[in-house]
């Protein structure tokens, strides 16, 4: 990250996971949270987001769906997908299409997540 304190948006419909990611990054980034697709899109429209971290399964909608829309609207945003199924066809397709920059499998170790998102 070129920025000293990047702005990260965490999207997950599972509150405890949202909190976990926030906890993991809070010391190194400004963390915003959203619990669904609409909230996430609204946040992206309101401010410039450096990194989007989204779960694949979001109540209504999917992380890859969100990634496609954010990528179109804000191509400079780095997009990291978190999923229980790294070999899910939709996830692999999104990766191949360049819609997501990184995929992290669940469960993850917080340090690993931080390094993958913000660099060492």
């Amino acid at each position: 990250m070129t920025l000293a304190r990047p702005r990260v948006l965490v999207v997950d419909d599972e509150r405890y996971n949202r909190e976990l990611v926030q906890r993991t990054l809070a010391r190194y980034a400004d963390v915003l949270v959203a619990c669904d697709l609409d909230e996430a899109l609204a946040a992206c429209a309101a401010v410039a987001v450096d990194v989007l971290i989204t779960d694949q399964r979001l109540g209504a909608g999917t992380g890859t769906e969100l990634a496609a829309r954010v990528r179109a609207a804000a191509p400079q945003t780095r997009i990291v997908l978190i999923t229980g199924y790294v070999e899910d066809a939709e996830v692999i397709a999104a990766q191949a299409a360049g819609l997501v920059d990184d995929v992290i499998g669940k469960p993850f170790a917080p340090i690993a997540l931080r390094q993958r998102v913000l660099g060492p």
Binding site: Y16, T24, R57, Y85, K106, P107, A109
Partner: protein
């Protein structure tokens, strides 16, 4: 005397059956009108032949005249003889079937005569034969039909069985996948937060250490030490890391089971891929753990350096699922299941032997348990498809399945599958 002879001939003349009276030399002494019809001779011609001393077989020849003359037998035995269904040829060349009777007769002057009658049963016999043929035909047709119905029923039952089982397995797959997915999130936040809890604990302990070394007013120090004693501070310091380790281990183990479940649930396609049978068996044992809990001791032998096998992993998992479930169900009360995995055929095949401490398979059931729908279990407990489907899957992999009893133990099932997977065209190795 003459009177008796006349009475007899007049009686014969009025019967429908052909009849002749012969003397001891089988010369015709008298014949009735029906007999004339049999000879095919005109009245005068016949009368002349008879007058010239013609013998019966010269006028109307039966098949048996040559070697088993009915009249002779009656004459020699002095008894009445009857022979059914004798073939003959009528004077006009028509084939006949007759019932022949011969009755010996001794006149008052001692002369030996034979009365022979011939009943033409050609039509009856013909009808009977036709009827027999028709009945036979009908019987065969019925048998064919029954056979077809049997075949078709078996086919339908088999097809239905396959469907039922596929449905069963795919709903199991869906269920397992769904559970795995739902477990993902809770495992994630347990696992991920343990690190933070550790960090928080370290921070708090540093704080406490700082206070330990700091000068405090006596009253505060006393209160501080009292609280430390109350919360068992020394114990806590020694224990908290163990506690976090066990939480982390629990989360990791759960994560591993979930990963296994995800593999197991991947039963969808029909593609062949290299798979780890040992892992499949371990997952299956995890899945049926509730059936075994604290009751059945599972002993695993071998299983190291087993090559990966080209197979449909989901299908082979079903094989182990069926065999292991059967073993667990066979054991009443405490017991054991032994699973032995080894390479055989110079590394060309993998063999899995599952033995149990159950009652074994009765000798009368040995040949039957592989049949679809054969079960000894209660309605609703077993459909009797497990082994049949197991055998089908193993066969489709070019492998073999066999079973028997182990001396001093229960049943033993042996699955052998080639490491290279089934032949492309599925020809060789498919021994049923």
């Amino acid at each position: 005397m003459a009177k008796l002879f006349d009475q007899i001939t007049s009686l014969l003349d009025s019967t429908v059956d052909a009849a002749v009276v012969l003397d001891g030399e089988r010369r015709v002494r008298h014949y009735n009108p029906a007999y004339q019809a049999l000879t095919g001779l005109r009245g005068r011609a016949l009368a002349e032949r008879v007058a010239a001393g013609a013998r019966c077989f010269e006028l109307f020849k039966l098949d048996i005249c040559a070697d088993a003359c009915v009249g002779c037998k009656a004459r020699d035995s002095g008894r009445r003889i009857r022979v059914d269904e004798i073939a003959a040829v009528r004077g006009d060349g028509e084939d006949l079937t007759c019932i022949v009777t011969a009755v010996p007769l001794e006149l008052a002057d001692g002369e030996q005569l034979i009365i022979e009658t011939y009943r033409d049963v050609t039509a009856d016999v013909r009808i009977q034969r036709r009827l027999k043929v028709a009945l036979e035909h009908e019987r065969r047709a019925k048998e064919d039909l029954e056979e077809k119905v049997r075949e078709r029923t078996a086919e339908l039952r088999a097809a239905q069985a396959q469907l039922v089982h596929q449905e069963k397995m795919s709903s199991l797959g869906r269920l397992v996948a769904g559970i795995a997915h739902e477990l993902n999130n809770p495992i994630n936040f347990v696992y991920g937060n343990v690190d933070f809890l550790g960090q928080y604990m370290e921070s708090l302990l540093r704080l406490a250490a700082l206070i330990d070394g700091a000068p405090l007013p006596d009253a505060t120090r006393a209160a501080y030490d009292a609280l430390k004693a109350e919360v068992e501070y020394e114990f806590l310091v020694g224990d908290w890391q163990k506690l976090l380790r066990s939480i982390r281990a629990g989360a990791e183990r759960t994560a591993a089971i979930v990963a296994d479940l995800k593999t197991f649930a991947r039963t969808g396609g029909t593609e062949l891929a290299e798979a780890d049978l040992v892992a499949g068996i371990d997952t299956t044992l995890n899945l049926i753990a509730p059936l075994l809990k604290n009751r059945v001791d599972v002993r695993r032998r071998g299983g190291t350096r087993i090559p990966r096998v080209v197979c449909n992993a989901g299908h082979l998992n079903q094989v182990f699922m069926n065999i292991l479930t059967n073993a667990a169900q066979a054991i009443v009360g405490p017991g054991w299941i032994e699973v032995e995995i080894a390479t055989v055929d110079d590394g060309a095949a993998v063999r899995v032997v599952v033995a149990d401490s159950g009652p074994g398979i009765g000798p009368d059931l040995m040949a039957k348990i592989g049949d679809p729908f054969f079960t000894t279990k209660e309605v609703g407990e077993g459909t009797g498809l497990g082994l049949w489907i197991t055998a089908n899957i193993v066969r489709a992999h070019g492998g073999t399945l066999s079973w028997g009893n182990r001396v001093g133990a229960g049943a033993e099932f042996v699955v052998t599958v080639p490491v290279a997977g089934p032949d492309k065209d599925g020809e060789a190795g498919r021994t049923p």
